[in-house]
């Protein structure tokens, strides 16, 4: 099963993962990544905004690319928008495959694209106000690994 979702509400990564697992009886391995709002470094809140005509279609395109590149039994991409608190999940990517390498690399591939090549804009609330976050050079280098 392929599930791609934008969520304006908090979600439960464990419950989502369990639901995906049930759809993939042939998967010998399932890899997943949960990104959360870092509870350290003075961040009081994080806000992700999106642009309706581009963001979800872009995520669906990324899912298609991921499925074309790796041999998968199932794929799940859920990304939050809106205001989040430290510790809240931001993103969940999970992939099931007959063999582990496809599952692990598919998650890595999708995450690198979500970080710096998907239509999201992120800002953090610190003691001195909101700050827009642009990708770090490491994020661009991570993405370039897949070219």
């Amino acid at each position: 099963m392929v599930i791609v979702r934008l969520s304006s509400q908090s979600f439960d990564p464990a419950a989502e993962l369990t639901a995906l697992e049930g759809t993939m009886p042939q998967a010998g391995g399932i890899a997943s990544f949960v990104g959360r709002v870092r509870p350290t470094d003075g961040t009081q809140a994080l806000e992700l905004s999106h642009y309706e005509p581009l963001t979800l279609p872009g995520m669906e395109g990324l899912a298609e690319q991921t499925l074309a590149r790796f041999d998968l039994e199932g794929l799940l991409i859920i990304h939050r928008v809106g205001v989040m608190q430290p510790g809240d999940p931001i993103v969940l990517v999970a992939a099931g495959a007959r063999h582990r390498r496809d599952a692990i690399e598919a998650v890595d591939f999708a995450m690198d694209h979500l970080k710096s090549d998907a239509w999201f804009w992120k800002r953090e609330l610190r003691a001195d106000g909101w700050h827009w976050i642009e990708p770090r050079s490491a994020d661009h280098a991570d993405l370039a690994r897949w070219k």
Binding site: H79, F120, W132
Partner: protein
């Protein structure tokens, strides 16, 4: 007759609004220099930056300077993205 301009991320902060109306005048269309001329100076300056992309009706333009927008079109100025 007008088009809509949606501002994302820090560009919305810069403009003080997430959306601007773009009046089209007698020509009933507007190109990239025409759009820049209508924007507040700070926003126009930011919009010309190489990292700022432009979408027309949900499709990102390969070259924003080729823009031709007509009545009812939705434009969006897109600063560098950051997700996850």
């Amino acid at each position: 007759m007008a088009a809509r301009l949606i501002l994302l991320g820090r560009l919305a902060d810069l403009a003080g609004t997430p959306e601007l109306a773009v009046p089209l005048g007698d020509a009933a269309q507007i190109d990239w220099p025409g759009l820049l001329a209508l924007l507040p100076a700070a926003l126009a300056e930011a919009a010309t930056g190489p990292k700022i992309r432009l979408a027309l009706n949900g499709a990102v333009l390969a070259d924003k300077t080729t823009l031709i927008a007509r009545s009812g079109d939705e434009l969006a100025l897109l600063p560098p993205v950051s997700g996850g």
